[in-house]
């Protein structure tokens, strides 16, 4: 499936992700990471620890609706992946981010911005394995 190259839209979206990360640090003193938000919702330490994460999640989930109200259309979510592969992939992502204590937002944005050696190593590692996996799925198995 071909997709259109969108440098400006992607740069703007990325900048907003950055703004959210900075605001969360400025207000609550926390790392903006999707893995951390989810894990803290599933295994809360206490009410105040749970409630801010629930509010962040509610904000995230309402974003497509807000975009569709402003622009008249939902953001594109095209899934060129079969249901069994979504299930397998999702489960593997769950294992990986829990052991690796983070994903693209926590390590990839916040950790990289802090020049954390753990995050830089994590990002290099998952960029390589993601690239290899896409190559194998599309050009070795699928080709």
């Amino acid at each position: 499936m071909e997709t259109v190259f969108t440098p400006w839209q992607s740069l703007g979206g990325g900048a907003l992700i950055g703004v959210a990360s900075v605001l969360l640090m400025a207000s609550l003193g926390r790392i903006m990471g999707a893995t951390g938000v989810l894990a803290g919702l599933l295994y809360p330490a206490n009410w105040s620890d749970w409630s801010w994460r629930a509010a962040v999640l509610a904000g995230m989930v309402s974003a497509p609706l807000v975009i569709s109200l402003l622009t008249g259309q939902m953001p594109a979510v095209q899934v060129p992946v079969s249901t069994p592969m979504l299930v397998i992939g999702g489960f593997i992502v769950g294992l990986g981010v829990t052991y690796g204590s983070g994903c693209t937002s926590g390590h990839g944005v916040c950790g990289m911005a802090r020049l954390s050696p753990r995050s830089i190593a994590a990002v290099i590692t998952f960029m390589i394995t993601t690239g290899l996996t896409v190559y194998v799925v599309r050009h070795v198995i699928g080709g």
Partner: protein, 144 residues
């Protein structure tokens, strides 16, 4: 106040993710498909996000404390260990298979597409599986 701030921050993050293309597996997978239908857009997402965060953190972390809490909660570890590297490697395999990462999938839930719910359910199952395994290991070492 904390909850309103958190909601707005989640909304900004979700809007950023949605317009950037990170919530769209077709775009994510094409970013990694250098040998095929390559779409380099996502490097601009990463670049924009890291640069803004890098600059913003310089100012924010100079302050003695965040506005609504007592202190900043920053990871302090700097060592590289097997769970970090192995876990990240495994995450990449899953990301390459499904095209969704957690930060992309959570805002995408708001589109109501069934594929996103399937992915997130499997993601939660993976997180639970690790926690159950860890708990069993703790119990075994406690009784041994």
């Amino acid at each position: 106040m904390r909850l309103i701030a958190s909601y707005i921050i989640g909304l900004i993050f979700g809007v950023g993710i949605s317009i950037s293309g990170m919530a769209n597996p077709a775009k994510v997978l094409n970013f990694f498909d250098v040998a095929g239908a390559w779409d380099p857009s996502l490097i601009f997402v990463m670049g924009g996000a890291v640069v803004v965060t890098f600059i913003g953190y310089r100012f924010v972390l100079k302050r003695p404390a965040p506005m609504l809490e007592q202190k900043f909660q920053l990871p302090t570890r700097r060592d590289l260990d097997l769970p970090l590297i192995g876990g990240s490697a495994v995450f990449g395999i899953g990301w390459g298979i499904a095209g969704f990462c957690p930060g992309g999938a959570l805002p995408a839930l708001g589109t109501g597409k069934s594929e996103v719910f399937i992915f997130v359910a499997a993601l939660l199952a993976g997180i639970f599986a690790v926690n159950i395994m860890n708990r069993m290991r703790q119990m075994r070492s406690a009784t041994a």
